[in-house]
């Protein structure tokens, strides 16, 4: 099977991973005010953990035949405690009138969003560059 764009397998995997990260961030932002999740507790912030199999495989093997790929190892929850605010009118408020709101800081999420978006963009630039290199290579010998 010919592989005209041979170098982009890793890039495609990274695009997948960044896409997942963006999905998780959007879920966090969407649930920033969810005080009553599926389990009855406030929503917990989720974080994507990327598997470092890329560096491990490169360090161990290092030959071009095996293509180490980045992928999402797991989606974990942020262990920080929920933020308690005083809102006695809220149906989810406890006896003291405190409501546990998600441990989400919207500014942090926006910064993460920008980082993930830029990483996605960088991988897209790699794809674009690879294609441009292939097309330029195909035009060897043309005048």
């Amino acid at each position: 099977m010919i592989q005209p764009l041979s170098g982009i397998q890793n890039t495609v995997a990274a695009l997948d991973a960044e896409r997942t990260r963006l999905d998780v961030i959007s879920e966090n932002i969407a649930n920033a005010n969810t005080t009553h999740g599926v389990d009855g507790k406030p929503y917990q912030r989720k974080v994507v953990v990327f598997e470092s199999s890329l560096q491990q495989a490169m360090g161990a093997g290092g030959n071009g035949s095996m293509t180490p790929q980045l992928h999402v190892a797991r989606i974990d929850t942020d262990k920080r405690a929920p933020l308690e605010i005083y809102a006695p009118g809220n149906p989810d408020a406890d006896a003291r009138g405190m409501v546990a709101t998600p441990n989400i800081n919207i500014h942090e999420e926006m910064a993460d969003l920008i980082a993930a978006s830029r990483a996605f963009e960088a991988n897209l630039a790699v794809v674009k560059n690879e294609k441009s290199m292939a097309m330029q290579t195909l035009s060897i010998g043309k005048h």
Partner: protein, 124 residues
Amino acid sequence: MSPLSAIPQTVYNFGSMPGTDAVRPSAMPTPGIDGTTPLGQPGQINPSQPASDSFGSVLGKLVSDVNQKQTAANAAVDGLQSGSGVPLHQAVIAMEEANVSFQLMVEVRNKLLDSYQELMRMQI
């Protein structure tokens, strides 16, 4: 004297482009620079090759590979449009791969036609 004698070294450098083995930072040997160890002779045709490796079958394999790429791209786009979970970038990248493969096939065909016409123009 080969008119394109410098090409093998250039092709060798192509082989170390990113994505293949550029992660190896070791010094790149430059075989062929003293003319003693050329990296393989282009255009060396062995007439006793088995028929399965014939030129026609190689070309046929190229065409079927390109066809396969096009089919894969179609499947990816179909999957995207039917909402079966194919991400946008995978569909687009499959299309680009099909596009580049097709361009490669067209270039090979152009070269073949050029050489055929060159032979036909030869004065006997």
